[in-house]
């Protein structure tokens, strides 16, 4: 009792420790709720995109390679007919395909070509070009682990931006479009 009377702050120490713990847990809870653990930052950003040579959906005998795409920026959107979230994203792509200012390449991931064609026929084709990766082997090099995923690749073939999950008008306005504009500024 003597001690406490002499040092009034001493009695608050447990309270302060408790408050610190509570703050710690609250931050943890909020972090967990607002932050999706699936959105893993890609180590490929600002690195050259992997080499690829993939058949076109419409003419499977023709191949599109990374070298073909060099010279101007483009978007790669990983999708599949079996992917539900791609269906959610689809109207957004339809609305924005001509607003991006860069070609939008569909990357059909682990999908049967006839299924992909039927899916695009039914919903509409937002892509300027569709390439197919049935085995998903090239997708490993891109670090794809779920569809939809979107990559922005610049004129020199370097990945500038990646978004995991469906693109939304919000994401496009806040993240993707500034990145595209920045590339255009640098390119011209």
């Amino acid at each position: 009792m003597n001690e406490v009377a002499r040092k009034p702050l001493g009695r608050f120490v447990p309270l302060i420790v408790f408050a610190a713990l509570v703050a710690f847990f609250v931050i943890g809870l909020v972090w967990n709720q607002t932050h999706d653990a699936r959105f893993v930052p890609s180590p490929l950003i600002d690195k050259p995109a992997p080499e690829f040579r993939l058949p076109r959906l419409e003419q499977p005998t023709q191949f599109v390679t990374k070298a073909d795409m060099l010279g101007k920026p483009y978007l790669i959107n990983v999708f599949a007919s079996w992917c539900f979230a791609c269906g959610d994203e689809h109207p957004v792509l339809m609305a924005y395909r001509d607003k991006f200012g860069v070609p939008l390449i569909g990357y059909d991931y682990k999908d049967a070509p006839q299924d992909a064609r039927a899916w695009l026929d039914r919903h509409g084709n937002p892509y300027h070009e569709v390439i197919t990766d049935q085995s998903g082997e090239t997708a490993i090099n891109f670090g794809v682990y779920g569809a939809p995923e979107t990559y922005l690749i610049d004129a020199t073939g370097v990945i500038r931006y990646k978004h995991i999950g469906p693109l939304t008008p919000d994401v496009i306005a806040k993240e993707l479009e500034p990145k595209i504009r920045a590339l255009e500024g640098a390119g011209t």
Partner: protein, 219 residues
């Protein structure tokens, strides 16, 4: 709140309530769980719902309490046996769900299992590449197997994966600026706590007169 109490109370009155709430909650919970599971694994058999253990008490109060008790005990044993068998089945299913890979020898298989158990399935995230039945995990297992056949070391394989999927794919986080708190946070807190305990204990064992002389006393 009433329901919660009913679940907690072991009284016969509470039991009926508890059973009802459990029945109501189960489909929900099972649905949630299975939707998560389905995305990653499609082999887990739904465990048989154990018989409600309190069922015996619903029958007419028997004259021989001992007989009743024995009956309950037998039922509990049956339920436990079912649960144990279900677990065993689930585990063996996990072991056999993995696509057979033609390993050269047991050492290579062990190395493969050890390596894939240290890697995260990026789709499931709470399962290792070894345990997951997701398509993604199957493909990466195949890839890792192929790299092993090419004579790649564990480190080379891990580096290859990290270059594509970031260090998030490693269950064992590397020592990096962003993981310093993770690596040293706990020992530092433990050390601080230990120092506090030692200081307090020392002070307590000292004769009462010396405490007043101690100028650095915050407690």
């Amino acid at each position: 709140m009433k329901r919660l109490l009913a679940m907690l109370l072991p009284s016969p009155l509470g039991r009926g309530g508890a059973k009802r709430t459990r029945a109501q909650r189960e489909p929900e919970g099972a649905g949630e769980g299975s939707s998560v599971v389905r995305s990653c694994v499609d082999f887990v058999p739904s465990p048989p719902t154990p018989l409600a253990m309190g069922e015996g008490s619903k029958t007419e109060p028997s004259l021989s309490l001992r007989g009743e008790w024995k009956k309950q005990l037998r039922r509990i044993r049956q339920v436990m046996a079912v649960v144990v068998i279900a677990f065993a089945l689930a585990l063996s299913a996990a072991a056999f769900a993995i696509d057979p890979l033609p390993f050269k020898d047991n050492a290579q298989r062990d190395r493969f299992q050890h390596l894939t158990s240290e890697l995260r399935c990026m789709v499931c995230q709470d399962e290792s590449l070894l345990a997951s039945n997701a398509d993604f995990a199957k493909q990466l297992r195949r890839q890792i197997f192929d790299m092993m056949q090419q004579g790649k070391s564990d480190k080379e394989i891990k580096d290859w994966l990290v270059a594509r999927y970031s260090t998030f794919i490693l269950y064992d986080p590397p020592l990096a600026p962003s993981t310093i708190a993770l690596w040293f946070g706990t020992p530092v807190i433990l050390l601080a706590g230990g120092i506090v305990v030692v200081v307090l204990l020392r002070r307590r064992t000292r004769p009462a007169g010396t405490i007043a002389e101690d100028p650095g006393d915050d407690w």
